[in-house]
């Protein structure tokens, strides 16, 4: 398999899902998830993230559009490609009267492409990886929310995967558990596994992801690397001075955009210019600079701008 830099782990074209009521949950979504990326799939609740994930895994049939996982056209090769994809969809789900270990054994037994002789070892190491070894024999019914989430992640790690699709993996975890899961995602990313992780938590995506896609009302409004997102931000400079008009004149003279004058200073968009040049020009023009700040809009501001909605930024 081609694992060159341009390979896409997930690629979709025109993915659309119209439910029977006529509501369009996913609208012409074109995903481009580079192989090896940790891709944050971001959007407010109800923006179509989970429906998209269900389509990607073949649980829901799209009204139109196609997608490829790990280079394979999904409709034709689902049976061949899905064993290489681990998933957590809309929270963990297991049989309540079976133990954690027995639940994983059930899923493993359903997988025709693994060696049964290694089942015990693989289940053991998956449980170990999420820290559930001690609770392996306990019934799922008696698991806490955090333990259930961990078991769900263990199921996704039952065998080596090339792609992990994790829908809100830190939901219900305490701060310690959240940290552990983020650490695990980073670790998997370092191992070369492509991780597609959905979240409504911006901070989470900022901390673990290399790429990001933003959904809003069923549409993909932006996707690309976090670095390129940072590059396209409008960095602003704020000059605090007793002579705002003079400062604004200097800023305008430097060719900065959106120059504005306020009571105690002037603002402008920095553009490609270095901030030290601005200060130098201000001082050279005799403007008494009391304060100078460079203001990068937070990712949150960017996303609110893209989706027109606020994010839950707690956690």
């Amino acid at each position: 398999m081609d694992s060159g830099g341009s390979a896409l782990a997930i690629e979709s074209d025109g993915l659309t899902k119209r439910f029977r009521g006529g509501q369009v949950a996913v609208d012409q979504v074109a995903l481009r998830v580079p192989a090896g990326a940790v891709y944050g799939f971001l959007g407010p609740n109800g923006s179509g993230k989970t429906t998209t994930i269900r389509i990607l895994l073949g649980l829901i049939f799209p009204t139109s559009g196609t997608h490829r996982l790990l280079g394979e056209p999904f409709t034709e090769n689902a049976g061949r490609v899905l064993p290489r994809v681990g998933s957590l969809v809309e929270g963990p789900a297991f049989h309540p009267y079976l133990s954690g270990h027995a639940n994983l054994a059930r899923l493993d037994a359903a997988d025709r492409s693994v060696d049964p002789r290694t089942a015990r070892r693989r289940i053991g190491s998956a449980l170990d990886r999420v820290g559930l070894t001690a609770a392996a024999g306990k019934r799922y019914r008696n698991y806490s929310l955090g333990m259930r989430q961990r078991l769900g992640i263990a199921a996704a790690l039952l065998r080596p995967r090339d792609l992990l699709v994790l829908d809100e993996p830190t939901n219900g975890l305490d701060p310690q558990g959240t940290r552990e899961v983020r650490h695990l995602i980073r670790q998997l990313g370092d191992e070369g596994v492509t991780v597609f992780v959905s979240s409504h938590l911006l901070s989470e995506v900022e901390q673990v992801c290399s790429h990001v896609g933003v959904m809003s009302v069923g549409k993909m409004v932006w996707q690309g690397s976090l670095a390129s997102l940072a590059a396209q931000q409008n960095v602003r400079v704020n000059v605090s001075t007793a002579t705002p008009a003079a400062a604004a004149q200097v800023l305008g003279g430097l060719g900065l955009d959106e120059v504005s004058v306020v009571d105690d200073g002037a603002h402008a968009v920095l553009g490609p210019m270095l901030p030290e040049h601005v200060v130098e020009a201000l001082v050279a023009a005799g403007v008494g600079v009391r304060g100078f700040t460079v203001e990068r809009p937070s990712l949150e501001d960017v996303f609110v701008g893209l989706t027109g909605e606020g994010f839950d930024v707690s956690g």
């Binding site: 895994l57 049976g79 899905l82 290489r84 789900a93 049989h95 309540p96 359903a110």
Partner: protein, 290 residues
């Protein structure tokens, strides 16, 4: 080749068949490990005991009239008739109920707990999932029938003894031949209720609420029996799933009168094929959003 591809490539020394059978074993294990299902088997096992003890206490002088009377009347002569009588009693309602519970739960239960989406993502193909589910249901049908038959023979032998079996037509056969006929009857009963299982499996693909699927399945078998009781539509009676259920009594004549039993088997097979096809058509095109 990636790590996951390497792991997914065929493993030397583990035949594909045995790897496919793991899921079947797991499914059958799930059915029989559930407390609810174990309780159902216990209840079914109590039926022959109840019959045997009741007849022992009453002295069993008068068996009454008709097929049921003939069966019950023979119990004091030979304990094996406890098994025949018990199967005759449980097939109209008890067995369909036990099958409706397991079959109705088959897909809707997995949908209800959400485990369905993870099975499909493993991946388990939808056709394969239905096939494995039906194998589980079929094994359950056999178990239900066998429990009633075996408990019936054991309690019958304890309370009434064995020996040569006098058939309903008056001729005697050896005890071994009697047990052979019981095996045939138990198999017929298992096949008959497996048709209910196929209906249940189809209903189970329609909902995410197991109890609704169970009730609907049981409701359909009761409807069949209600229609069977309406003389004006006697033309369709032979094609009702329940019409020939108790006809296994013909196996206890000499020679065996098998035309109606054969028709019963044909009807069961027809319903099984019809509803398995419907279940397949429904399930393979269904959005799983549970």
């Amino acid at each position: 080749m990636s790590l996951a591809e390497a792991a997914a490539s065929p493993v030397v020394g583990t035949p594909a068949v045995s790897r496919s059978l793991r899921f079947v074993r797991s499914e059958v294990g799930m059915v029989f490990r559930r407390r609810r299902n174990q309780a159902l088997l216990v209840v079914l096992g109590c039926v022959p005991i109840l019959i045997a003890v009741a007849i022992k206490i009453s002295g069993g002088d008068n068996g009454g009239n008709g097929d049921a009377g003939a069966l019950f009347g023979s119990i004091t002569d030979n304990g094996v008739f406890v098994a025949f009588s018990a199967l005759f009693v449980v097939i109209p309602l008890f067995l369909p109920m036990a099958v409706a519970v397991v079959a109705g739960d088959a897909v809707s239960g997995e949908a209800n707990t959400g485990t369905l989406r993870y099975l499909l993502a493993v991946p388990v193909g939808r056709t394969r999932l239905l096939a494995v589910k039906f194998v589980g249901i079929a094994v359950w049908c056999i178990a239900c029938s066998v429990v009633v038959a075996v408990v019936g023979v054991v309690i019958g032998l304890i309370l009434f003894g064995g020996g040569d079996v006098t058939l309903l037509s008056g001729t005697s056969v050896s005890f071994g031949a009697g047990l052979w006929r019981l095996t045939l009857v138990a198999a017929y009963v298992a096949v008959s209720i497996a048709a209910v299982g196929a209906i249940g499996l189809f209903v189970s693909t329609l909902t995410e609420v197991p109890i609704a699927a169970m009730a609907t399945t049981l409701g359909l078998t009761i409807t069949s029996q209600v229609l069977d009781a309406v003389p004006q539509i006697s033309a369709v009676h032979p094609w009702l799933p329940s019409h020939y259920w108790q006809q296994f009594i013909d196996v206890l004549r000499d020679p065996m009168a098998l035309d109606k039993v054969g028709h019963g088997l044909l009807a069961a097979a027809t319903y099984a094929v019809l509803f398995l096809t419907l279940a397949w058509a429904r399930f393979t095109s269904k959005d799983v959003s549970s």
